[in-house]
């Protein structure tokens, strides 16, 4: 029964993709297209609940082979699913949050051109993401990995007639390719060492791996994870990905796809555990990204870009958690982050919807009374991400930071703490600038402000509830329900068991950091609105650097994009002059040869053939006289022949 449910989970969205993708434009209206879309994800969610409740009761992982895909020699790859507690956690996030976002999209995308196309891509994304988290081997993981990349590309470029959207889509795709190349290398290395790609078999024999090989595999996997999860140095695509519709940003670029890298590292923690070098780099990349992205988030003026940098930063926390071996904490933060970041993005979408497409927070302000529901829900999300207890973000972020502290990674702890302060500050800055103070909108926009329809508000309420209370699945820290559930797959809890006093004081520090960030934002943007400008003017250099995102995009342009373009031009020249020259030369030689052989054929070969033909003709003139047409001539010839035959036989017999 459970096996059947597992098989059904990805099937519903797949049916929706086929139905909407092929027939949606012709056979039914938008009404039916969105019903099919969210209905299918809802059914997947129901199946997921069935599967998860079964696994909670029995505690056993299910491995289901759907289809034997590639077999021959020592290579066997099945389209098969492995559903263990880790997959369950991911499934709940993907289908649950995915369902809510699908419902929200019905309101947000209402009346958009390409409505059916949007839902087709969203469902295709669900299928890929489900394959990614459910696959029982690296090949299925890779299919899902590429599938979500494709859907990300398609949905970032949803407004394909907008140049910036098309460019952002290409950028996301190309940057992800770099990561994918590393991931592919890792898969090849895994196959080279284990002759199989199945997780269970690989992890059973992982002990035979040499330390160098383990490091190589882990680092290659890390490259893949860094690309997909937008970490330094490959994070540049994620802020640009905000060109897509807001539900896409919420679903793909906050809640699910970008967390695939974290999922992959946790899934492969058996390999990472063998290599302290790889773990070190995971932690360093995570910590640096958490801090680095948070600083950029401080000064951005686009509501979605602030959220994008905060996503990069929060993903950094998850990597940091992985890097110190706190896998459960990383997954915990992944789940709470999915809740509150989806909430933040969707409420930001609600704001954008209310203002008719305005995304610049300098042109907002004073919205708290005009769109009260959106305001309340956005505020809940802000508190959750800032890490103020007892909201969801506090528990998971605090746990990661506490692990960093108890593992004596004080540098990483410091980075995370400063990052947490900055996170709290820029999120409250965003809230203040958007919802409080004087209105900075133009008259026309202000007149048309309207609260979003219920179809958008209700999913927001559910997400708000989850952001409020979702943290309690991991309460108390390190011994919560989630920790016990994930214990079989994420390794045993930390061996550095901290005393209750340390845990409590770390919690106090974390919450005071968050509250201090709030207080600073309150001072700068509510009590003393001109102060922020003065501060910016004082630190002009730092401010412009941050505003221009440390010029990383420009640096990459200079280092990679421009040389690539130059190389392209060089290759174009080479192609036109050298390769085309050779081709043309060969062509001309062939032409000459053809002329020569035409002459030879006309004069030599035809001559010979004609001689043979004419000779035959002459001979035939004589021989055909033999055929007189008179029967008795033939009879005479037969008799003569018989006689001759008789004579010959006689001679042979006599001899």
């Amino acid at each position: 029964m459970t096996d059947l449910l597992i098989k059904l989970i990805p099937v519903f969205p797949l049916i929706a993709v086929i139905a909407n993708g092929i027939f949606g434009r012709y056979l039914w209206s938008h009404e039916w297209a969105h019903r099919i879309a969210w209905g299918s994800v809802g059914l997947s969610f129901l199946c997921t609940i069935g599967v998860v409740s079964d696994i909670i009761q029995t505690g056993t992982a299910h491995e289901v082979i759907v289809y034997q895909w590639i077999f021959g020699g020592d290579l066997t790859i099945n389209l098969a699913y492995l559903v263990d507690p880790l997959t369950c956690a991911m499934l709940l996030v993907v289908t649950g949050v995915g369902f809510l976002i699908h419902v929200y999209s019905v309101g947000y995308m209402h009346g958009e051109h390409g409505f059916t196309r949007f839902f087709t891509y969203m469902n295709l994304f669900m299928v890929s993401m489900l394959l990614l988290v459910m696959g029982n081997n690296y090949a299925v993981l890779f299919i899902g990995w590429e599938g979500v990349g494709l859907c990300s590309y398609l949905l970032i470029g949803y407004y394909y007639d907008k140049v910036s959207a098309a460019q952002a889509a290409s950028k996301a795709f190309v940057v992800n390719r770099i990561g994918d190349a590393g991931f592919l290398l890792a898969i090849f290395l895994v196959f080279m060492n284990f002759q199989t790609l199945d997780y269970t078999k690989v992890f059973a024999e992982v002990g035979h791996l040499s330390p160098g090989m383990a490091t190589a595999i882990a680092l290659c996997l890390l490259i893949g994870a860094v690309g997909k999860s937008a970490q330094i140095p490959l994070y540049t695509w994620l802020p640009d990905a905000m060109e897509g519709p807001t539900p896409v940003s919420a679903l793909i670029h906050a809640a699910t796809m970008v967390t695939a890298g974290v999922y992959m590292i946790v899934r492969n923690h058996a390999i990472y555990d063998l290599s302290s070098t790889a773990m070190f780099w995971v932690g360093v990349i995570g910590g640096t990204t958490a801090l680095f992205a948070a600083t950029i988030g401080l000064v951005q003026n686009d509501i979605k870009r602030v959220l994008a940098y905060s996503t990069v930063s929060q993903l950094g926390y998850m990597f940091l958690g992985c890097g110190i071996g706190a896998y459960t904490a990383a997954i915990f933060h992944l789940m709470t982050h999915a809740f509150f970041k989806a909430l933040l993005f969707l409420s930001a979408g609600s704001v954008i919807h209310a203002l008719g497409g305005e995304q610049d927070i300098r042109k907002m302000g004073g919205l708290s009374h005009k769109i009260p529901w959106t305001h309340k829900l956005f505020f809940i999300g802000t508190i959750a991400i800032a890490g103020i207890p007892p909201f969801a973000g506090f528990w998971s972020k605090d746990e990661i930071m506490a692990h960093a502290f108890t593992h004596h990674q004080y540098v990483l702890y410091g980075m995370a703490a400063i990052g947490a302060f900055l996170t709290s500050f820029y999120m409250f800055r965003l809230t203040y600038l958007t919802f409080y103070g004087q209105s900075r909108m133009d008259h026309h926009t202000e007149e048309h402000i309207h609260e979003s329809p219920m179809v958008m508000i209700i999913p927001l309420m559910v997400l708000g509830l989850l952001s409020l209370a979702g943290g309690f699945i991991g309460f108390p820290p390190d011994h919560g329900w989630l920790h016990q559930f994930l214990a079989p797959v994420a390794g045993a809890g930390s061996e550095h068991e901290a005393s209750t006093g340390v845990v409590l004081s770390l919690m106090m520090i974390a919450s005071s950091i968050a509250l201090f960030g709030w207080a600073l934002a309150h001072y700068l943007y509510s009590m003393n609105p001109t102060a922020s400008d003065r501060w910016a003017a004082k630190a002009r250099l730092a401010y412009t650097t941050l505003l221009n995102k440390y010029y990383v995009d420009e640096l990459y342009d200079l280092l990679f994009v421009e040389p690539t373009k130059k190389l392209g031009l060089l290759l174009d020249w080479f192609d036109r002059v050298v390769v085309d020259g050779i081709v043309r030369g060969v062509g001309q030689m062939a032409e000459l040869g053809a002329a020569g052989s035409t002459w030879a054929e006309k004069h030599v070969i035809y001559g010979v053939i004609n001689i043979v033909g004419y000779g035959n003709h002459l001979m035939a003139k004589q021989w055909r006289q033999l055929q007189s047409g008179m029967v008795h001539h033939y009879a005479a010839i037969i008799v003569a022949g018989l006689f001759l035959l008789a004579v010959v036989i006689q001679l042979i017999v006599q001899r």
Partner: protein, 100 residues
Amino acid sequence: MVPLSAYVAVSAVLFITGLLGVLIRRNFIIVLMAVEIMLNAANINLVAFSHYLESMAGQLVALFVIAIAAGEAAVGLAIIIVVFRGKISTNVDEMNLLKW
């Protein structure tokens, strides 16, 4: 008791007669009759050997030959009639339509 060689000699004489008739005579009807003579020469051989070897197979084949000879005569005469209608002649030399 007539020896086998006598039958064979008679048969040979008859066969040569028929053969010469086919090759030399120009009248289609005579040619046809000469063919009959050749068939009968063969029949004599068959029956004589059948008796000599004490096997009924030869006589059986002779009966078949007689039947085929009857058929051959019928077809041959029909062809002669058709050709005669076109040519008003039964001269074999004038029938050379089969040449190249």
